[in-house]
């Protein structure tokens, strides 16, 4: 492994008391004040996250729409300009290459936002699938910083720093060249927490300046700098998947329970054949929610059992900071996926009782 990379906000993290760890090859704060305090700040007020580790790829050209539509599971042909769409990229096997956000500027100009740990793999996969499409791919991760401002107070805080009327940026829409504290940014009403909020893209040299300005504007409104620790608990409670947990090359989007982002009525896309078949034959396993009945916290990778027989694995589990319960997501054989089915989680040497519950742990507070 090469040395971990630093984002343009590295010095800001130290200044704000961040506890920096190596995450997907990046030196990023796992927390500042504390995971639970930051989690609660985002749920009740606001939090700012450095998400500059995320990758960005520009796709331009006459056939950009067709190229992306072949690459991803969702139907991006129905997008309007300045819209954002969540989608997944699959292998021909139906397994997942990555999940991503598609930013549409115009019919021939897009940006794809991909996961930090998959940047090289994804870019190679995109290039490998260009074929005869008339498109140009630009990997721009190295010149883009990204800050997420999330929480019910996000709009109020950001509005203090811009003349753009933020209420006019609708959920899963974007606006280019928004001046935040005088610096040009791309702003989208998107996020990974289950709360209202924005993801803001900027040049590296503007990142720390904008971070400081947002902090100043928000600190009296309950805003806290927020680390990767609460980013994961927040996304988990909102049942937003994480690549490497709920999503992987061995898991299809249908098994993961994100079929709503797979448009099998599209003529073609990579992986469609297998997913069509899986849909027709029915799933053999899927990701369910569960709650512990006995003591212990379920964690990623723990085995799921029924009467001592292995029936699956935990994809993510936590003592939920919002719900104060030990809950998780698990991939289980289909016959154990009904609500209220008793299952067991192997927690170290103990086999502990649990039951299947709805995956809707937390009601998302999006502004639609």
């Amino acid at each position: 492994m090469s040395d971990p990379k630093k984002t343009a906000l590295y010095n800001a993290h130290l200044k704000y008391g961040g506890k920096v760890v190596n995450y997907s090859g990046w030196e990023l704060p796992v927390q500042y004040e504390g995971l639970t305090a930051e989690h609660e700040a985002v749920r009740n007020f606001a939090g700012i996250f450095d998400v500059s580790h995320m990758g960005e790829v520009e796709i331009k050209g006459k056939q950009a729409t067709d190229f992306i539509n072949n690459l991803v599971t969702n139907d991006i042909s129905i997008m309007s300009d300045n819209q954002v769409m969540y989608a997944l990229m699959c292998y021909p096997t139906g397994g997942i290459v990555d999940d991503l956000l598609v930013y549409k500027y115009t019919d021939d100009d897009y940006m794809l936002v991909i996961n930090a740990g998959n940047v090289d793999k994804d870019f190679q996969w995109m290039k490998d699938n260009v074929g005869n499409y008339d498109v140009e791919l630009n990997h721009i991760s190295d010149i883009v910083s990204e800050i997420a401002l999330q929480g019910p107070k996000a709009e109020e805080i950001l509005q203090e720093l811009t003349d753009t009327k933020l209420s006019e940026i609708a959920f899963f829409h974007l606006k280019k060249d928004v001046k935040i504290a005088g610096r040009s940014c791309i702003v989208s009403r998107t996020g990974y927490t289950g709360e209202d909020g924005f993801e803001i893209y900027m040049k590296h040299e503007d990142a720390e300046y904008i971070w400081d300005k947002i902090f100043e504007a928000g600190k009296d409104k309950g805003l806290k700098p927020a680390g990767l620790g609460c980013r994961d608990t927040l996304r988990f409670e909102a049942t937003l998947p994480l690549y490497g947990n709920e999503l992987s090359p061995e898991i299809t989007p249908l098994e993961a329970g994100f079929g709503m982002f797979v448009k099998l009525n599209k003529t073609n896309f990579i992986g469609k054949e297998v997913l069509d078949k899986q849909k027709a034959e029915g799933l053999k396993r899927k990701i369910v929610g569960f709650e512990m009945v006995g003591p212990g916290i379920p964690r990623h990778g723990y085995d799921v059992l029924s009467n001592g027989k292995n029936i699956g694995f935990v994809t993510t589990g936590y003592n939920s900071p919002t719900l104060k319960k030990n809950i998780g997501l698990a991939m289980v054989n289909i016959e154990y996926s009904e609500l209220d089915t008793p299952i067991e989680i192997q927690i170290r040497k103990n086999t502990v009782g649990a039951k299947v519950i709805s995956r809707k742990f937390y009601n998302k507070n999006y502004k639609k």
Partner: protein, 127 residues
Amino acid sequence: METKTGLLYSNDHEWVRVEGEKAYIGVTDYAQHALGEIVYVELPGIDDELNAGDVFGVIESVKAASDSYLPISGKVLEVNEALSDSPQLINEDPYGSWILSIEITDKDSLDSLMNEQEYIEFCSKEE
């Protein structure tokens, strides 16, 4: 970081309070800071016979589960049941919140532990 006079300390940031043949064991202030907010403690079974270096319990923050290693050999006499309902007591009062008590089976193993001054010095190098 706080320490407490009269306790012995391990490399794994546990404290030991010896009372005759019996020892109370918990985790230090340094450890509770490093662990973050504690949300669950898995306790050992009464009468379990454990060797120095064995895992006697697991302390979990929201983020992760961390094994706790027994610094000296012994037989488990009591576990602090209050931690089952209120694991955050370890954060609030690490030296008042013992996790278990043991009957010391090998007094020599106490020799490998540090006194307060040695432990303060040890922690200063851990940073």
